[in-house]
Amino acid sequence: MNFLSEYIYYIGAFSLIFIGLFIVLAKKNLIKVIIGLSIVDTGINLFLITLGYIRGGTAPVFSKPGLKAENMVDPVPQALVLTAIVIGVAVLALALTLAIKLYKHYGTLNLRKIKEQKW
């Protein structure tokens, strides 16, 4: 139980990543694939946050006296996550735009049927 509570965030993060990857690999609908990518992103973000997270920690600001550095949450992963979220949104937006265009051309979003570019 102790193990679970210690690693719960990691388990959660990697579960999300694997679920997302599974969707990308197995689903044939483009929208679902994009959702999968988005889930992978979320999982990674959770993972990054977890890296710096300390249970019961404080913000890394030395404004109040008596705060110890050991108890502070690492700020770097949070900065990373911010950037990663922005990138993720950009990819997502672009993917959805392309999905709309693709639908206009093919009349379907089934990736098994969109196979003109091959060999």
């Binding site: 950009a90 672009l94 693709l102 051309h105 091959k118």
Partner: protein, 491 residues
């Protein structure tokens, strides 16, 4: 001395200025990439002699390494920056006449962003920053592939995006694992501590990074996006993708393997991977009817050759690999530009539509021929010294394994020769002899100038390879001497 950060700031800043210039005049916007990259070219050329003495490194935001983001302009970085600026500059001239759509400011913004991303990747000294620039490069190339908005373009862009996104997720997981273990993102800092950690927990991030960057670097079997994207993108973008984007992916792998991890033992694996990539690329290209697909597969093959050369791991091997990289960048960009304009005129990407081009578009055909000969590795063009150096490095190992791999490489060269010579013949010797009334359609100057600058470079460096061997040698030693790299940044 100029600050190397300008190499990133100028194109990035100007990218977002492009729409503003629209208010002044609609004609001005296409010149902005031209000036931005001209500035970059000049800056990287002026930095070049300084860098050979001592790598420049810049800390951003006042944090000294290992904290904060820092830029490292070593010989390797400047070599790449120079190459990016040069190819980007020439392709931006090409785009004057080639990009004719109404809303062309999008093209120019994305184009500048792509090159910003590429320059950032090669100059940064921070692994997460590398990822960010890498994403800028990827996202702008996804959208540029779809720039025409036609059916193949959109389809290829979607597929490229899905594969690219999976790849960059892997990279990000790898970076997260590295940060978890070392608590730092500075590459020199990670590199100096890498051997202090248990091997398997370092191996996983290495694998993730190689796979993730491998998608952009088009290593087999991660390269399925490449033939689609290269063949459906606008030709100017195909030239950039083939000449710069894959090379930057390769740079990331090389940086990770050599500098970050010092993983010389994985090189044996990459050696085989390179040869397999080479063979598969050339075999796939052999019977292609679509010229741009053929060139794209040939790019895969060339990347395989470069990976092979870099994985030899000796100084001369890396030297040869980098030379081949420069040679491939110049030759393939030339081929895509020349073929692109011929496609533009004939309206078809089928090789058979090139019949009689030798008469119709003599200069472009000539340039294409030079590029083809150079890729195959015939003297006196730039491809020859590249292949020569690689074979020399491989045979100097005096190992039966290397001899066998060399023969496989040469088999691939023969196949490559076969399909390129076929195209050259189609251009010059096939079709009706010369129908009366058939007019010459000389390409506009903005196409011919960049194309012939490429031809000039290919011939000049081919005849006088010493022009670039100096910087290549110091780049190669930068890759091999991890200790120097670390010492430079963390005194």
């Amino acid at each position: 001395m100029v600050n190397p950060i300008l190499l990133i700031v100028i194109p990035l800043g100007l990218a977002f200025v492009v729409p503003l210039f629209r208010f002044i005049s609609k004609k001005i916007e296409k010149f902005i990439p031209f000036f931005a990259l001209l500035a970059n070219l000049i800056i990287s050329l002026t930095l070049f002699p300084h860098v050979l003495e001592k790598p420049i490194h810049v800390s951003i935001g006042g944090f000294l390494p290992p904290l904060g983001i820092n830029l490292v302009a070593g010989p390797l970085g400047i070599l790449f920056a120079m190459l990016i600026a040069l190819v980007g500059f020439l392709v931006s001239i090409y785009a004057f006449a080639y990009i004719k759509e109404k809303d062309q400011e999008k093209y120019h913004i994305l184009y500048l962003l792509l090159l910003t991303g590429a320059t950032g990747v090669v100059l940064t000294g921070d692994i997460f920053n590398l990822f960010v620039f890498f994403e800028i490069l990827c996202i702008s190339s996804y959208s540029l592939v779809a720039y025409f908005g036609d059916k193949p373009g959109i389809e290829s862009a979607v597929k490229y995006l899905i594969q690219g996104a999976v790849g960059s997720s892997l990279v990000l997981i790898g970076i997260g694992l590295l940060y978890g273990q070392f608590g730092t993102l500075n590459m020199a800092d990670i590199a100096s501590n890498i051997h202090s950690v248990h091997s398997i927990s370092v191996f996983i991030p290495l694998v993730l990074l190689i796979t993730g960057f491998g998608v952009e670097a088009a290593i087999f079997p991660l390269n399925a996006w490449l033939p689609d994207a290269h063949s459906s993108a606008p030709s100017s973008i195909s030239a950039i993708l083939s000449g710069i984007a894959i090379e930057v992916g390769l740079y990331a792998i090389v940086r990770v393997v050599f500098t970050l991890f010092g993983a010389s033992s994985i090189l044996t694996f990459l050696l085989f991977l390179g040869v397999i990539t080479l063979l598969i690329g050339e075999l796939c290209a052999f019977n292609q009817e679509n010229i741009k697909r053929m060139l794209a597969y040939s790019s895969i093959g060339q990347i395989g050759l470069i990976v092979f050369a870099l994985s030899i791991g000796s100084l001369s091997g890396i030297n040869g690999g980098l030379f081949q990289l420069v040679s491939h960048t110049l030759s393939k960009a030339l081929l895509f530009l020349a073929a692109g304009y011929m496609i533009f005129r004939s309206g078809s990407m089928n090789i058979s539509s090139f019949e009689g081009m030798g008469k119709k578009m003599p200069y472009t055909s000539f340039a294409f021929t030079i590029g083809a000969f150079s890729i195959v590795g015939l003297p006196p063009f730039i491809g020859f010294p590249g292949k020569f150096m690689i074979l020399k490095a491989a045979l100097f190992e005096q190992d039966i394994l290397f001899t066998i791999l060399v023969f496989l490489i040469l088999l691939a060269t023969i196949i490559e020769g076969a399909y390129f010579f076929r195209v050259v013949q189609t251009i010059y010797f096939k079709g009706e002899k010369s129908t009366p009334g058939q007019e010459r359609e000389i390409a506009p100057l903005s196409v011919l100038i960049p194309v012939f600058i490429f031809v000039g470079l290919i011939v000049v460096i081919g005849i006088y390879p010493k022009l670039i061997t100096e910087i290549l040698e110091s780049s190669a030693s930068e890759l091999l001497n991890r200790a120097d790299y670390i010492k430079n940044i963390l005194p």
